[in-house]
Symmetry: C2
Subunit: 196 residues, 2 copies
């Protein structure tokens, strides 16, 4: 409330946008370890210009990804309205992974541990809560294995993530195959009966 932004000069604002756009592209293509020099050059600007608007890479990354993470969180919340919870959960996971598939920076951000980025932390909380609700509901509907918990979502996402980093030889989006395989394994009532 007290943080009055003094309004940027028009060219400065323009360059700020160019910086954000460049950062989005560079982070997506080369990951967060890309240099602010890289970003600046890709935007056709000097490094100084970038540092004038963003104190450091962390801040720039937050500006770039805050929106995307909110979208994902919102999607998890929106999934609550569906009547088939298992269906909604699957669709949400696939949706989230689609974002990750085209953005290496987002993948690296998602891999960050607990205290490494409170931006992620907040997103994770919201998403976990929504997923938890979906999971409970899906179990009640008898469509999800009873032994699945919220804690399984992160590992599953991480597993598919790792496939995306592989030097994909062959099919265009191999991760979809593996995701389908796993999601299928989560379904209730598909097990072969112990012994006939």
């Amino acid at each position: 409330m007290s943080e009055e932004t003094p309004a940027l000069r028009r060219d400065a604002e323009h360059n700020r946008q160019r910086t954000l756009a460049a950062a989005r592209e560079v982070f997506a293509a080369r990951g967060l370890q890309a240099t602010l020099n890289d970003v600046a050059h890709h935007a056709g600007l000097g490094v100084g210009t970038v540092y004038r608007r963003f104190p450091n890479k962390e801040a720039l990354a937050e500006a770039v990804y805050a929106g995307k993470l909110d979208d994902i969180r919102a999607a998890a919340q929106a999934a609550q309205t569906a009547q088939d919870a298992y269906q909604a959960l699957s669709a949400f996971i696939e949706h989230a992974l689609e974002q990750a598939a085209t953005d290496r920076g987002l993948r690296e951000l998602m891999r960050r541990g607990a205290g490494e980025s409170e931006l992620i932390e907040r997103a994770r909380e919201g998403i976990a809560e929504s997923c938890g609700r979906l999971i409970d509901r899906a179990k009640q509907q008898g469509t999800l294995r009873a032994d699945i918990t919220v804690g399984d979502i992160a590992p599953i996402v991480s597993m598919i993530d790792s496939v995306m980093d592989l030097p994909s030889s062959g099919a265009a989006q191999p991760w979809r195959r593996y995701l389908a395989l796993i999601l299928d394994g989560l379904k209730a009532g598909l097990r072969k009966p112990p012994q006939p």
Copy 2:
């Protein structure tokens, strides 16, 4: 044939062994990015001593992991003798992942792409060949889904690997659960029929 090793002095040979042992421990615990300084210190030796025996970290890592990789390759070959190919394949994958589970360095080595280490390259070839045979045989025996290929093994291993790197909260070896989930998904004839 022409490479005559001039036989080390007794203390030197002893230190070489200490270096290898320390490297095994340090690489296993902290990964290949650990410094040769770390290794030397952990062995109670000076850096110079380590560099006298191993020209660089790469060479030390090869000395450390050549054996382990050969073992894995051998296990893949040995699996051929089993009569149930699907069973043998599952067991082999689990065996390989058990090695990876306790050795971060090995995990990092396995993640290396094609041209990054010809040590891995050779191991990969042998393993791929053995797995290929097992896969073919399992399909013939009707125990493996027909759409699975050798190319699926690496991604699957990579997926489980990624779970091992996660800040495991909860069960001791979460990866076994996920491996079981996936292996189960590879079985033939478990699909729910399209519609009753």
